[in-house]
């Protein structure tokens, strides 16, 4: 899509930033409303729906039995993929996976994988012969900005409520997937010259670089990604990291609460 808006939008974002305001009336570190629903789709072994402002994302977990890699005979595998399908926005077109969708899938994948919340050894069924492959698919239905955080939240919530379909594959009894911890992502975009948390569609369109931070339960960093054109200073990063800690803690509580139901 040709981006017609940015020049005017950029000026407006700069004007607002000078007055410490945002285009939708939020404060610099305010989030839009977030709602999370789990176990909402038949056929997915784990599923979650996240409505985050105007962004709507589903994540679904499926399992398959596969042969382990020869050098890791007792380890299962995890794969997280994302699709930015044309359903989600006027700007998305059909075709092979775009660099944007590959980045989204990989950033969410790294946060989950590197947090170690899935013990690959626990996915082993018969060493050297059979292991579980866990696949998380992120399906973006409406892109209203900040799809990264919504995708990360949907993915971990779907994973944490997933049931391993062992009976269907004739390898024991169905059981909850073991997930130790909830890595959560927090994303920031530079809009009007300063960083804001949870960028809206307009802030993304008229903004500069974005930074995605995934934090684990202990507050440790598990994945970082800087995207798009722009530079930032260490002190700017320290500031948004402190915001990310608070935001991630709250979202982690939301996941825990949904799981309990």
């Amino acid at each position: 899509m040709v981006e017609l808006v940015p020049t005017l939008l950029r000026q407006e974002l700069e004007r607002l930033a000078a007055e410490n305001q945002r285009i939708d009336g939020r404060g610099q570190w305010d989030s839009r409303d977030v709602s999370l629903e789990v176990d909402c789709l038949y056929n997915a072994e784990g599923s979650a729906k996240v409505v985050w402002g105007d962004t709507i994302i589903y994540a679904g977990v499926k399992f398959e039995i596969r042969t382990p890699w020869p050098d890791r005979p007792t380890q299962g595998s995890l794969m997280c993929g994302a699709e930015l399908r044309p359903v989600a926005h006027r700007k998305y077109e059909p075709g092979p996976p775009s660099p944007e969708s590959i980045e989204l899938g990989r950033v969410v994948d790294r946060g989950i994988r590197e947090s170690g919340c899935i013990d690959m050894e626990k996915l082993c069924i018969v060493p050297g012969e059979k292991v579980w492959g866990v696949m998380i698919d992120i399906h973006v239905l409406s892109d209203g900005g900040n799809i990264f955080d919504a995708a990360g939240l949907a993915a971990i919530a779907a994973l944490r409520t997933a049931v391993v379909p062992a009976e269907r594959f004739d390898v024991g009894e169905d059981h909850r997937l073991l997930v130790n911890g909830s890595p959560i992502m927090a994303s920031f975009t530079r809009a009007g010259g300063r960083f804001v948390y949870d960028p809206s569609e307009e802030e993304e369109l008229g903004g500069d670089e974005r930074i995605h931070i995934t934090l684990g339960d202990e507050g440790h960093l598990h994945s970082l990604q800087k995207g798009l054109r722009g530079v930032f200073t260490p002190s700017e990063f320290a500031e948004i990291l402190a915001v990310a800690e608070q935001k991630c803690t709250k979202l982690r509580e939301m996941v825990a609460e949904k799981e309990g139901n």
């Binding site: 997915a44 699709e83 044309p86 696949m135 409406s142």
Partner: protein, 242 residues
């Protein structure tokens, strides 16, 4: 059709395994205007099926060779989410989804007043999030509500419904087991006000009498679903947000 004759699909009391009578459809619920990014959208839950449709446009038709000088083209993509079925589906178009997309587009072009928008394109995206038999019909219903939600003029709504045959008995709205082990499936797209048919497929084995009965069931179901579609659109406009 799977066509295994030895699977029991009707109970001794004449009802189906899930307790429905032969001419009873699964519960349906419809919501219009569910996707903020789209010009029009709808979500249809039909039994355990979940379909979401988004409409974008009318917009400039790209690439130019698809343009029609006298009307709009409707570009439909029917897609099953990777987690929508028992075994994960590899993302991307396959032969089945290509065919369904094509005939669905042709059905929608039969009801949308495409001549109002020469040289343009209307994009209809159908995403199946959960599949339990009959997804193409649920997708058509969702697409129709999404088109209406987008304010695109149509000569009528179109409702996707299916009947079929299990254990030599014609039944309305096959579920998963009935679809897998049944003897016939007859999905149609019905214009509820004019009584015309804009979408038709069939596979399996039906006598003329069975076909007529299946069609009768389909028309009955179409008028029931049509009421829900109208109701969803009314609720949408009472709600009032763009």
């Amino acid at each position: 059709m799977g066509g295994y004759g030895d699977v029991k699909l009707l109970r001794d009391d004449g009802k189906r395994l899930d307790g429905r009578t032969v001419d009873e459809m699964r519960p349906v619920s419809i919501e219009a205007g569910v996707l903020p990014a789209a010009d029009g959208s709808a979500m249809v839950t039909h039994g355990l099926n979940v379909a979401v449709a988004a409409v974008y446009g009318p917009m400039e038709a790209h690439p130019r060779k698809i343009q029609r000088q006298d009307r709009a083209v409707i570009d439909v993509r029917y897609n099953m989410a990777p987690f929508s079925t028992g075994d994960r589906i590899r993302p991307g178009f396959n032969r089945r989804s290509r065919e369904i997309s094509k005939v669905t587009a042709e059905a929608l072009e039969s009801v949308v007043l495409v001549e109002r928008y020469p040289r343009s394109k209307i994009r209809v995206e159908i995403e199946i999030l959960a599949a339990e038999a009959g997804t193409r019909c649920v997708g058509i219903t969702a697409a129709a509500v999404a088109l209406a939600d987008a304010g695109i003029p149509m000569r009528d709504m179109i409702v996707g419904v299916a009947s079929g045959k299990i254990e030599d008995t014609v039944v309305l709205d096959l579920d998963k087991a009935e679809d897998n082990y049944g003897q016939a499936d007859l999905p149609v797209g019905i214009l509820p006000n004019t009584g015309e048919i804009a979408f038709l497929q069939m596979d399996g084995d039906l006598s003329i009498e069975e076909f007529n009965l299946a069609m009768e069931y389909n028309f009955k179901a179409a008028s029931e679903i049509h009421e829900l579609m109208v109701d969803a659109l009314k609720r949408r406009y009472e709600r009032g947000d763009n």
